[in-house]
Symmetry: C2
Subunit: 379 residues, 2 copies
């Protein structure tokens, strides 16, 4: 194996594949990066058993300035190899396998020799046929993940809740996550998916990693699922994730369809007030912030306190308030995560009683996106 | 106590004073920030007992837009107070002491009430007369600290070596630090200091903190020392540091005045090669990099290795080499720190034997600045 490549372009692809590589792994070879060199391409693979990322660097793509002298394959220590490549002196780097599983890395007058492993010992990635895949615009799919991953559970006690429930039916893609204290749901209408049906639970960590990679991808992401894997194809990259086994709870009945009190306001201004109040609630034992709404008097107020340190009170600006008086307490971090998912938008908060879950929806496309939060009982 | 001030200008000064405040302190009141409000100024004080910083915000300085309604004083929890001020909604903030030691912080519609402490319980800063102080250009003094603090010891076994030895004699300011493996010495000629003599050891941590504050100060820093304190005055800020007690070892005889081998090269290019070699040495038990010099053959080479991972070898570019052949091993982190202190300059490395300390000096002003490193015996 021997090839020469443009170092900057190579580093860009290395960084992508490294997202899947964990520096500690119960399977030692997975701390490595697999390089497979063909006549006119280099394929990089990284995996932590949950996620696998495979990127193809083609000689046809001029940015790589790729010259292959000899095909071959090797597994090199991933972090260490990438640290070396990043620090090399020259614009080009030549990588060659010499005796056995030793690799030579040459750039300018610097020459590294590092110990690798036999590429035949690297686990095989699942073979997935992408002929029947469906497509979603990359930036839209990244938004869907960003808006729902906040409610993914980090508790291993109910493993199924550490995933995002992704389904496709009647041309509508739905993503739902809940940790049983809050819930995020986003729907997107897809074109050209025909009668295609999908119903899978994908680990939240996989999708969060994926969303970081596709945020500025121009082409749509091709998605294909099998019994136990999901595959996302974009640009020259294939991103594999295992699926979670088990049935996701039925979340459709959790979202209330009536309300007693509604408040319309600016998400980002309200977020700033919540963050101020949380400065105090974070210092107290039960991290709770209170919202008091009096639609008749036109008053809405956020307050927080910590017995040791002090208290805070702030009147908040609203665009519209309707319904009954209300005093409701909640975790300001849940509220903050939900508000951030709306960006600069105007939103509607809908409450039933002080002890029932309440919802946040954008004023536009309010049936496409909902954040639900369970309040905290403070007495 | 009650005053209103421009929030952005206030935050700038808060950040400066916070440098002295540690969030954990054996003296609880030192986790606080003292505010003293006079008719037309606010004085902020922070201290961790080693360093104290006092900043005066004068109403005469328009950027503060200061209005004092009522003089007074209070101590407020430092980090928490500054977090609040940073998150407030309005351009202005009003701070008032209400009942007892409670402070009200108002900005826009947000109103915080936080518990403070009696300012009379805050330790008094030493009273130091600055009439006889001497002056050093701020950016120059920041350089002197930056160039010598790398050799300060972090071992409490010899406390005196955790300081920088600062002396002034015959119009020359000398700063020296050594951890007994390496030594940094910088000399600067000062104007208008007459017969002034100074000989003190200032904690390295104090000077490093000071250097971060004065890097972009225009006016010179006024320096005054007493038996147990040093005071640095710049702009509207007074920076106090305790001194270390005891005699600093005589370092003047440690710097060799002859050499067998000299190499002249570019500090930043050599640094890059050392950092590449250290990628491997950092993976081995005895973090060592080897330099091989053969002036007759015109060859200089850096190499590193780790039994587990591999090895690296790199020919380095030199401007001039003279003297005997040499093979010398050293800690690449010590070499890296020393090389960084020269920036982009050309430097001269001077060696006697493979087991004796060697020096690095800039080709210009070579008698003003020296870095010394003790090699590592590898056999």
């Amino acid at each position: 194996m021997k090839f020469t490549i443009n170092r900057a372009a190579f580093i860009g692809q290395l960084n992508n594949v490294l997202r899947a590589v964990s520096s500690k792994s119960t399977i030692p070879i997975l701390t490595g990066l697999k390089l497979v060199v063909d006549n006119n391409e280099v394929v990089l693979t990284g995996s932590d058993a949950d996620i696998s990322i495979e990127t193809t660097l083609s000689g046809a793509d001029g940015q790589y300035q790729l010259t292959v002298e000899e095909p071959g394959a090797i597994v090199l220590p991933a972090r260490f190899f990438s640290d070396i490549v990043k620090k090399l002196p020259d614009q080009q780097v030549t990588i060659a396998v010499t005796d056995g599983f030793q690799a030579q890395i040459m750039s300018g007058t610097a020459e590294f020799v590092i110990n690798g492993q036999d590429a035949n010992n690297y686990p095989h990635l699942p073979e997935i046929d992408t002929a029947a895949s469906f497509e979603v615009a990359a930036d839209l799919f990244a938004d869907v993940i960003r808006q729902t991953q906040i409610a993914v559970s980090h508790q291993e006690s109910r493993p199924i809740l550490t995933g995002i429930h992704v389904s496709l039916a009647d041309g509508i893609l739905t993503a739902v996550a809940t940790d049983s204290h809050r819930l995020s749901q986003r729907k997107v209408r897809l074109e050209n998916v025909g009668e295609r049906q999908v119903d899978v639970v994908i680990p939240g960590t996989s999708l969060t990693e994926l969303s970081r990679m596709i945020g500025d991808v121009k082409d749509p992401v091709k998605i294909q699922v099998t019994d136990n894997q999901a595959l996302f194809v974009f640009g020259n990259t294939r991103f594999y994730s295992r699926l979670l086994e088990g049935n996701y709870p039925d979340t459709s009945r959790l979202i209330p369809d009536t309300s007693e009190t509604t408040v319309e306001l600016d998400a980002s201004a309200f977020l700033a007030a919540i963050e101020r109040a949380s400065l105090l609630s974070h210092q107290s034992r039960n991290n709770v912030v209170k919202l008091t709404v009096d639609p008749q008097a036109g008053l809405a107020k956020v307050s927080g306190n910590s017995a040791d340190i002090g208290n805070v009170e702030e009147n908040i600006a609203t665009d519209r308030m309707e319904g009954s008086d209300l005093e409701i307490s909640f975790n300001p971090d849940f509220m903050g995560d939900a508000l951030k998912s709306f960006g600069q938008a105007k939103i509607i908060l809908s409450f039933t009683t002080a002890l029932r879950p309440f919802t946040l929806v954008p004023t536009e496309d309010s049936d496409q996106f909902v954040q639900l939060i369970t309040p905290v009982r403070t007495y």
